[in-house]
Symmetry: C2
Subunit: 302 residues, 2 copies
């Protein structure tokens, strides 16, 4: 058997991070004040490696420079210009998953994987700093199992979602399963990890996909569908933002209750979510159901 497949949570917060720059909601207020019951969290990203030397990033968050600094396995070593980061796989085009590509400038070769339309967005404007002579863009079709050359494969699959905010038109379709929002299946020998950072609905297709996984990282954006409305933070429900709430009849907690999954982790957690508060009843409820609430630096080894 090969060595462990390591998955490190670089950032566990949803877009904006925790605390969010302009937010003074009850959770953020505690975070600004340094209350030990809430841990600050950077924006959504994972690092994956089968040998501990070369790493694939799953999404590139705006906080990527800070995340690299905080994780010594991602530090350069041994040469004037070097990086253990072999590539970045993008699951959607939201700013919290895309903007970190701007950190990966400075004449370094690596590969960006994603849908063809998503890769197209990495070529324009300021993203043009990623010199195409060095930075390879490799389009990946839905359901194609790609050997990353790192000892594991990745297969993207469509989940219910929506286009990024900055691409929304007059009307926006929510919940279609297309290549604008994907989950990924990571396979390494007989081990299987599933990562779904954004998902508008836990459909039967999603349930079938996660069945038997060694670990599931799932969209933990909000606890209830209307929490941002109730708190006066937004006029949008979680569904309108392309996310499935944790609680409620159609929530992810209930939908995955009977799934056979060895470890289940909520990540991409919005600052409004009460599970961020370590002594909240909501936190107790998800933990009692066997979920881990991700924090930056959490490592799962399979």
């Amino acid at each position: 058997m090969a060595g462990a497949l390591r998955i490190i949570v670089l950032g566990s917060a949803a877009g904006g991070g925790f605390p969010q720059w302009n937010c003074f909601c009850p959770n953020c207020r505690l975070a600004w004040e340094g209350d030990p019951r809430v841990r600050p969290r950077t924006q959504s990203s994972l690092a994956i490696s089968a040998d501990g030397n070369r790493w694939l990033l799953l999404n590139a968050s705006p906080d990527l420079r800070q995340q690299i600094y905080a994780n010594s396995c991602l530090h350069p070593r041994g040469a004037a210009r070097q990086t253990p980061i072999a590539g970045v796989f993008l699951t959607n085009g939201d700013v919290d998953h895309l903007a970190g590509l701007l950190t990966l400038r400075e004449q370094q070769a690596f590969t960006i994987y994603g849908s063809a339309s998503l890769l197209d967005q990495t070529k324009h404007g300021a993203f043009g700093v990623l010199n195409p002579d060095l930075v390879r863009r490799l389009p990946v079709a839905l359901e194609a199992q790609i050997d990353m050359g790192l000892g594991f494969t990745i297969r993207p699959f469509a989940v219910p979602g929506k286009v990024p905010l900055y691409l929304e038109g007059e009307s926006v379709e929510i919940g279609a399963a297309t290549d604008t929002t994907v989950g990924v299946e990571i396979d390494c020998d007989a081990r299987r990890a599933i990562v779904i950072p954004g998902c508008a609905d836990v459909t039967d297709d999603v349930l079938r996909r996660v069945e038997g996984a060694d670990v599931l990282f799932f969209d933990g954006t909000t606890f209830t569908d209307d929490e941002m409305l109730r708190m006066g933070l937004s006029q949008k429900t979680a569904w309108r933002m392309g996310h499935c709430a944790i609680d409620g009849e159609r929530g992810s907690l209930a939908r995955f209750a009977d799934s056979k999954i060895r470890r289940r982790v909520y990540t991409h957690i919005n600052n409004s979510n009460p599970i961020l508060l370590e002594d909240s009843p909501e936190r107790a409820k998800v933990e009692a159901a066997g979920w881990i609430v991700a924090h930056d630096g959490l490592e799962i080894a399979l």
Copy 2:
């Protein structure tokens, strides 16, 4: 007399920051190892306020979220969504001065100031998250003195520079004084600060502009023009990147030697620059000439 004009260095490093994600040059190596003789630094940005409550950012670095977290004067307070940041003034379109605008999303009103062509770049692709119904873009002509509504005025002036890397064509003109690279003069009652984060040459025009200033923040990218070449980090001189070296006959140290400036500060310092090492002869040389080497969090009050 009004209260102090406060200028806080949010980030004092050039593009890439210090240490840089993919750099293992002698300085970066020490920084990755946590050597106390080098302080890590985030990317170039200043915050300016005349009342301590409302702040103007001079440039928005990719590290802005981390910089806000590190400076309590920029934390929101008192309302569900709030910020002490009233606006951002852009001096050029390089990624290290522009990418932080992506952090300032989440439905918050503020104003972006800059040249018309620069503001145009803040409207496309992912930057479209900055909703024009909330985020005002205010073009500022060279030499126009703009009242920021914050107790001080800003006047941009052209300095020798070049277009951002991602806008370079087959050939690129270096050293033209146009609105693609500007310095700014900040006036508050009788006090005057000059900030020039990028400048390819200290011309006589530049010397005239800084004469008599209470403080000058100036481009400290490299110590010698060819240091990145010699270290095998780049094939470009400082001049080719649109920056004037500190040392040498035409360097900023010699050119400003006879200028009457009350305080002079090097900022926008590249990871290759030996002044980052606190016990280096180069650091001693600039300090002996009366220069302060900026670090994150440095505050100058006038």
